[in-house]
Symmetry: C2
Subunit: 87 residues, 2 copies
């Protein structure tokens, strides 16, 4: 994904807003949202890129695109690393 | 989702082709694919509907749309129930 180093501690900080829907432990508060704890890192990264690129166009996709709009690739990689290593 | 009853045993049968990418235990063989064991049932259902509706348009989205093309809502609900209850 063009990112060679990830920082889970930085990911935790950057994931601050994620937790309101996906939970501080990666377990979604709402059953229509995905649990993301322990999810594959590459999949998490690619999913966030797909939202950014407008490749997920349902209602939640539009919201997620907005949520992720200010994040750079390194930010996404750090967030993916953070959640993928969570039990 | 308009489905009132689900059948995990039927879901297992209908999910036969899912396992080649998502694993017989819901753990993806490829790190770019999502693990789906224990994932929220409603999220799984809605994700499959989004693929069917062409609302996920990346490369995997197109493949998934094809994979899911012959499945009715009850089939998707049964498959979602099956994977959501998997440890």
């Amino acid at each position: 994904m063009g990112i060679t180093t990830t920082d889970t501690n930085a990911g935790k900080i950057k994931a601050y807003t994620c937790q309101f829907c996906h939970g501080s432990n990666g377990i979604a508060a709402n059953p229509t949202y995905p649990n993301i704890n322990g999810q594959n890192e590459q999949y998490l990264y690619q999913s966030m890129k797909a939202y950014q690129n407008g490749e997920r166009t349902n209602t939640m996709g539009k919201m997620m695109k907005q949520q992720l709009s200010s994040l750079k690739n390194q930010d996404l990689a750090d967030i993916a690393a953070y959640y993928s290593t969570m039990d």
